[in-house]
Symmetry: C2
Subunit: 388 residues, 2 copies
Amino acid sequence: MALAPSTVEGPLNGTLVVDLTRVLAGPYCTMVLADLGARVIKVEVPGRGDDARQIGPWLNNRSAYFMSLNRGKESIALDLKSQIDRGTFERLLEEADVLIENYRPGTMERLGYSWERLHDTYPRLVYAAVSGFGQTGPYSPRPAYDMVVQGMGGIVSLTGHPESPPTRVGTSVGDITAGLFASIGICAALKEREQTGAGRMVDVGMLDCQVAILENAIARYVATGDVPSPLGARHPTITPFDSFATADGHIIIAAGNDGLFQRLCEAIGRTDLLEDDKFISNPERTTHVADLKIELESTLHGQETQHWLSILEAAGVPCGPINNVAEVVRDPHVLARNMIVEVEDTDGFRVAGNPIKFSGLSDPRQRGAVPDLDSGRGDILRELGLET
Amino acid sequence: MALAPSTVEGPLNGTLVVDLTRVLAGPYCTMVLADLGARVIKVEVPGRGDDARQIGPWLNNRSAYFMSLNRGKESIALDLKSQIDRGTFERLLEEADVLIENYRPGTMERLGYSWERLHDTYPRLVYAAVSGFGQTGPYSPRPAYDMVVQGMGGIVSLTGHPESPPTRVGTSVGDITAGLFASIGICAALKEREQTGAGRMVDVGMLDCQVAILENAIARYVATGDVPSPLGARHPTITPFDSFATADGHIIIAAGNDGLFQRLCEAIGRTDLLEDDKFISNPERTTHVADLKIELESTLHGQETQHWLSILEAAGVPCGPINNVAEVVRDPHVLARNMIVEVEDTDGFRVAGNPIKFSGLSDPRQRGAVPDLDSGRGDILRELGLET
């Protein structure tokens, strides 16, 4: 007997995800899967549930942090050390397409749910394990913390200003990128399973994902031996490509070639800079990057950001504001793309929408409710044929 | 006649990706797909090819930047405005499972390859369009620049120190997260196609993806009305959870609850802090976060980072170093996880490996060669039955 599919349209509609994850990396992954149409059943610890339920800020006595990651999921509380609850859990696994957890490595084995046993018993199950350091390697047993993997993985060494103390990326990219790579691995394994009938284990470590997003920093170091360092907001080799102070804040200008630099100088009335040998080509401009910033800011400082945005957009020079979160959530384009969605049964609480837009599928302006702990029990047990 | 599969094992082995993308977001996506076993054929502009081929640093006269993103792909140069080359391109589409491009919206329509026409002609084709602002909405026609979407999407407003000028995330998360969400959409659409036989269009905008990774910043703003701002390296509500100066650099310490704070104080010989009312609980510690940092650094400053890491690891207090890129690429755990891989035919050039580890599949220590422009032409035309 198969459980009912999610009411959300999407390429994963009909897929059942049994979700043991807590806090951020795993729940972010299963939120992505739910937005793609999967039905996600959170299996939580009785009494306390997902640790994120205890993290503020609070809205009507519920954790807004938890709500932002768990909309559109269902909850059942099961104690995986109790024989009855293990029976329920195993009935769920019989129906599941995906099992995901973000315990410390070794926990599932201690619970009797090693990959070998899972794969033997449920050969079609795709099993994803998200952890700080992955299932192998010397640091594998260590707990996962976003800030620790950001520091160990190199991104902190690239972020900030040259003389500033260490600077963390302002969102938890350690957790979030792990959630994204896990989503990719799960979807790819589901695709393969349609052909082979067999599931796979997907092992994603947060530190590995930090290394994977270092981008050209590794290439720069390996090719040249130079260790990349923080550069504030500017690009290492393209100039001007930075943030600049205006009368009321900052503007980002990305004038990446000689033609755009000329348009920039003309638009802001600084054609004198085009005559200056120091700024004659991109390599020269990069060599004299500090001088050029002083020259540009001496002019940009005279008017407000919005004035310069209008002028530069009209001139075809790539530019943009630096929006704070209040500005982002009311930006007309962000709203037109349905990237701020309401959550059912919350009096209008809003969260980020789904950035993957598909042809032929609706992109609902309202996303499913946030489950209270164990609130799905009745329906889930009934569907499993386990109600008493 | 189907083209041969990739020689790389993986859940996407047997999948053919025709790749029109340039520079970073799109090529990052197709690198992920290639690492999962897809065969990726880059279709490049004759003469010049992918713009990334012109971006330094250089290694043996080849762009290390390009190499780091295009290992394991093939290249054919086609002019999509020439009738003969369009014929070749359309033969490729007949065999393709996925077509991906990161042009500005409207370009594919002008070339005669709108989604409607593609879907009519190649109903099984999954088509992904990655752009700065997506295929719809008021900013849709604008060009894509990582720094611009980082600024507009809010992450810059959260990154940096309270008084510092704007701070970009040190890697191009604007491009990379778009590449990751596109990979998820493609894999999910391929999974669905196994069941329905029909492809879908996947529309991913970089700005949307920035909104999607703002994480709790949106929840904090919507729930409280407070606009989140940069906090350096520290956590907004958990203390101590920050970087701290040592005798030779910094250490990250994440002592997220009272028990860990006690272990921290005992391990570094500062049990006096446990008696101080200012530091008695997490809310108190967060209120007095600056005082606590001064107290902890007055001790931590006396010894080197490695000394404190040993002591805190032994005490079970989550902590870590701040590694630069040179330290990351030689870290024993990073190496044990095969996260630094060699590229064939490059005299040992190294790049980031694949962070998605699957059971039952090899994770090669060497990844496929980087294609010179048009170097795959002979083999590809032969396989298509088009050689003259």
